[in-house]
């Protein structure tokens, strides 16, 4: 672990002397990309971070939203890509642990977990299969043991992640507004380290996350201990109830170095600590090692001497280790001692604030030609193509994944995983809806429109459950930022997200940047992952089971936008074409109309149209409801297009509404009044998924058969290395 020479001379000039070896370690940890955001921070400021419901307080590691009646929801997103790529089980599990502690550190109880997973091609790549299986097991074992439901996420496979893994984890918390920790500290307060003991594992993790994978740092393996984490959650919430916490921070990347410097800097205090006081699990750890160890399941709490007794009692009751490692001073310095000897003494603002960079950016040359479409071989049998798509890893049901996650514990889960967004009930009678979405295939072709699309898709999923988007989390994952072409794609994505957030007045309440995601074949595709949180005042009426004679209505235009679609990439093996573009005005109109249809109880179910296009979205409705549907492609609103484009284009802002015949005219009237593009395109019944062009049937697929393929493909691939057959 080291500083670049430019950074070293800067450190020297900022402290006016040569740093000690321990100081060097501390600063290197804190100035790593992972902890300091040095490449991205300047630009992240463009995102709108305030709003009516947003509560901004110093020192929070998660975003806070006021959901009324004295309650708040907290949210955060993190990734654990590098650790998961080398140790998928432990890497993914400790990723969950980290984001949960961010939620906890605001003083709220974690109530839901989301996971966004990306791997190489599991149909060909054994390594991808191994990574996938173990990542899912890691998340399951950790979240299940904590008793926090994992209620949503996504899984995607793309060759750009060969021998690599993107593991994004988001979490939501809930609590009383008055229970929020108001981070504050004064001279004489004491600093308590609570939780797992400090060891050599995970040394250098944040530095590791900021390097390309080549360096393969063995010591960065972290062993998860969800049992301790569960006890920490209960202990911390008890201490919160008893008002024993003045300030709190979780230990994540950079270990004690980051936690101490950041909390001191945020609260404008000084902290003096003694490494000898830290409870460790191995003897003879050096001060440097103690300061940068990333041992998991630890929290830092600042409290007063008078409250220590009570805090100790709670720790004992929950059988978790703790140590009083230091105290608060008024000098804005972090001083690290071992007994009498001082090993580091640095101004906290120097440690906590690396000099921010303004890296050069240039448009990648591949983008000049990527939208040109190849001439593709014509499709002779659409039924076969759709069947193939329904069993493809990206489109097949993810039940093998979420079936391993306890998504019911906490008894809040009103809408379970498997539809669009999941929905939780809150104690004030309101309902919270959330979903995370990414789309590297779109983002590769057009980083700006692709990112906007992810944002819109997540909103759409939330809207499908009758909730209004109130906050957004962004997670920006890219390759090496020192490559101007990569940095350009980062900026473009960020600008797209900013535009959308501002237009829709959806504040960004948190996020994370993960750079240096590179495989031996090069950088990953730009992979922003967006989480959207929505709120509904009453329990939404959707989804109800679709029955014989129900009507299918599509809202939104279908356009010639197959770039990055599953149809191009999976069926034709073609990367390129026109990326779907969100028309902000249409998007807003469609969202509003769909919400009002749901609120007026005019829809039995609402499903968004995304991966795989209209053909897949209709099939999903049919398969989950176990009923057929006859769809007329000629009626689909939008550009005049040939059948494959109508079927498989992944244009945004589209929703599939179902309604029974009694309510059809009311629904039509509402949509007309709102001036959205929509059409009644089909009727449910019988047992086949049927698409007609003019009067000719071009797809006819048995529901039971396709459902079997869709449900079992993924597990067959993972467990037996082959797809489900009919």
């Amino acid at each position: 672990m080291s500083l670049e020479s430019r950074e070293l001379s800067e450190l020297k000039s900022r402290i006016g002397r040569d740093p000690t070896p321990t100081e060097l370690q501390i600063v290197a940890a804190e100035w790593s990309e992972h902890c300091s955001y040095k490449s991205s921070k300047k630009h992240l400021k463009m995102l709108p971070m305030t709003g009516k419901l947003v509560i901004n307080e110093k020192g929070y590691d998660s975003g806070v939203l006021d959901v009324g009646d004295g309650y708040v929801v907290t949210a955060h997103i993190e990734s654990h890509n590098h650790p998961s790529a080398v140790e998928p089980y432990g890497g993914a599990a400790t990723g969950v642990g980290g984001v949960i502690r961010d939620i906890l550190s605001a003083g709220t109880r974690p109530i839901a977990i989301f996971d966004g997973l990306r791997f190489g091609d599991i149909e060909k790549d054994l390594e991808a299969r191994w990574l996938f299986k173990n990542v899912v097991a890691g998340i399951a074992d950790y979240g299940n043991c904590l008793g926090i439901p994992t209620i949503g996420g996504e899984v995607e496979f793309d060759e750009c992640y060969e021998n690599y893994a993107l593991v994004d984890v988001a979490a939501l918390g809930f609590g009383k507004k008055e229970g929020l920790i108001k981070n504050h500290a004064k001279k004489g307060d004491i600093v308590v380290l609570l939780g797992g003991s400090t060891g050599r594992d995970g040394i250098g993790g944040s530095q590791f996350a900021s390097d390309a994978l080549e360096s393969d740092n063995r010591s960065a393996v972290q062993i998860p201990d969800p049992f301790i984490e569960k006890l920490i959650i209960e202990a911390v919430l008890q201490a919160r109830n008893d008002k024993l916490i003045h300030a709190m921070k979780d230990l994540g990347g950079g270990g004690l170095s980051c936690a101490i410097s950041e909390i001191a800097d945020a609260l404008e205090i000084g902290i003096e600590m003694d490494v000898d006081l830290v409870h460790t699990r191995e003897d003879n750890l050096s001060p440097d090692e103690i300061m940068i160890s990333e041992s998991q399941e630890r929290m830092l709490i600042i409290t007063s001497r008078a409250k220590l007794k009570k805090l100790e009692k709670i720790c004992k009751r929950f059988r978790i280790g703790y140590s009083v490692i230091g105290h608060v001073k008024s000098d804005s310095q972090m001083r690290i001692k071992k007994g009498k000897r001082t090993f580091a003494s640095l101004p906290t603002d120097v440690v906590a604030n690396a000099t921010l960079l303004d890296l050069p950016a240039t448009m990648p040359s591949y983008l000049h030609t990527i939208e040109t479409e190849n001439k593709l071989r014509p499709i002779s049998d659409y039924t076969k193509i759709l069947t193939k798509l329904l069993g493809s890893p990206n489109i097949a049901s993810k039940i093998w994944v979420y079936g391993q996650y306890d998504h019911e514990v906490g008894i809040r889960t009103v809408i379970k995983p498997g539809c669009d967004a999941s929905v939780l009930r809150l104690d004030n009678g309101k309902f919270l809806s959330a979903k995370i979405d990414g789309n590297p295939k779109h983002c590769y072709i057009n980083p700006r429109q692709g990112a906007i699309g992810c944002f819109e898709e997540a909103c759409r999923n939330v809207v499908c459950t009758g909730a209004k988007p109130i906050g957004m989390l962004d997670h920006l994952q890219f390759g090496n930022p020192n490559d101007p072409e990569i940095f350009w794609t980062f900026l473009e994505s960020l600008k797209g997200l900013t535009d959308f957030a501002k237009y829709f007045k959806i504040p960004c309440i948190g996020g994370k940047v993960s750079l240096y995601n590179e495989t031996h074949a090069g950088p990953i595709k730009p992979t922003p992952v967006i989480g959207v949180i929505g709120l509904a005042e009453k329990k939404p009426s959707v989804p109800q089971t679709i029955t014989q004679g129900d009507n299918l209505i599509i809202v939104g235009k279908t356009k010639d936008e197959l770039g990055g679609s599953e149809f191009f990439e999976y069926i034709h093996k073609f990367i390129g074409g026109r990326c779907p573009v969100v028309d902000f005005e249409d998007s807003k109109k469609n969202m509003k109309s769909v919400l009002s249809a749901i609120n007026n109880n005019l829809a039995k179910s609402v499903h968004d149209c995304s991966k795989g296009g209209l053909a897949v979205a209709v099939s999903e409705l049919c398969m989950t409801n176990q009923i057929g549907c006859k769809v007329s492609l000629d009626k689909v609103p939008g550009d005049k297009l040939c059948a494959d484009k109508i079927l498989f284009s992944e244009s945004h802002s589209r929703y599939l509404l179902t309604t029974d015949s009694k309510k059809l005219s009311k629904l039509v009237a509402l949509l007309k009044k709102n001036k959205v593009s929509f059409k009644h395109i089909g009727k449910f019944g019988s047992d086949s998924i049927q698409f007609n062009c003019k009067t000719k049937s071009i797809i006819s697929l048995n529901v039971t058969k396709s459902r079997k393929i869709w449900l079992h493909s993924l597990s067959n691939l993972v467990l037996h290395g082959k797809r489900a057959s009919q």
Binding site: V86, E87, Y89, G90, W130, G199, R200, D201, R218, V221, I223, P224, D225, F227, I228, R281, E282, R319
Partner: protein, 88 residues
């Protein structure tokens, strides 16, 4: 060809913590009457029954198989492979 029994023991490398062993020690064993135990480490064991021409080949084959199939992650775990003649 003779039959061999091959024991593969997979455990966390030294220095890597073993939360399960610690819990068994602290919350079960030390709460009982057996205070002479100072440490417990957990491991996983696979017992292979394999037909190979000799002991050495049996050992080699099983080790290779565990590596190939990624039965363990060498970053976290170490394996010990012991071969025994099958007592038929």
């Amino acid at each position: 060809m003779p039959t061999f029994i091959v024991h593969v023991i997979i455990e966390n490398k030294p220095g890597i913590s073993d939360p399960e062993g610690e819990t068994i020690l602290n919350d079960l064993v030390l709460k009982g009457t057996h205070k002479t135990v100072s440490k417990i480490k957990t491991a996983k064991m696979l017992k292979f029954t394999i037909k190979e021409k000799d002991k050495k080949t049996a050992q080699f084959t099983v080790k290779e198989l565990c590596d190939d199939l990624r039965i363990y992650n060498p970053l976290v775990s170490k394996v010990t492979v012991d071969v025994f003649e099958a007592t038929v």
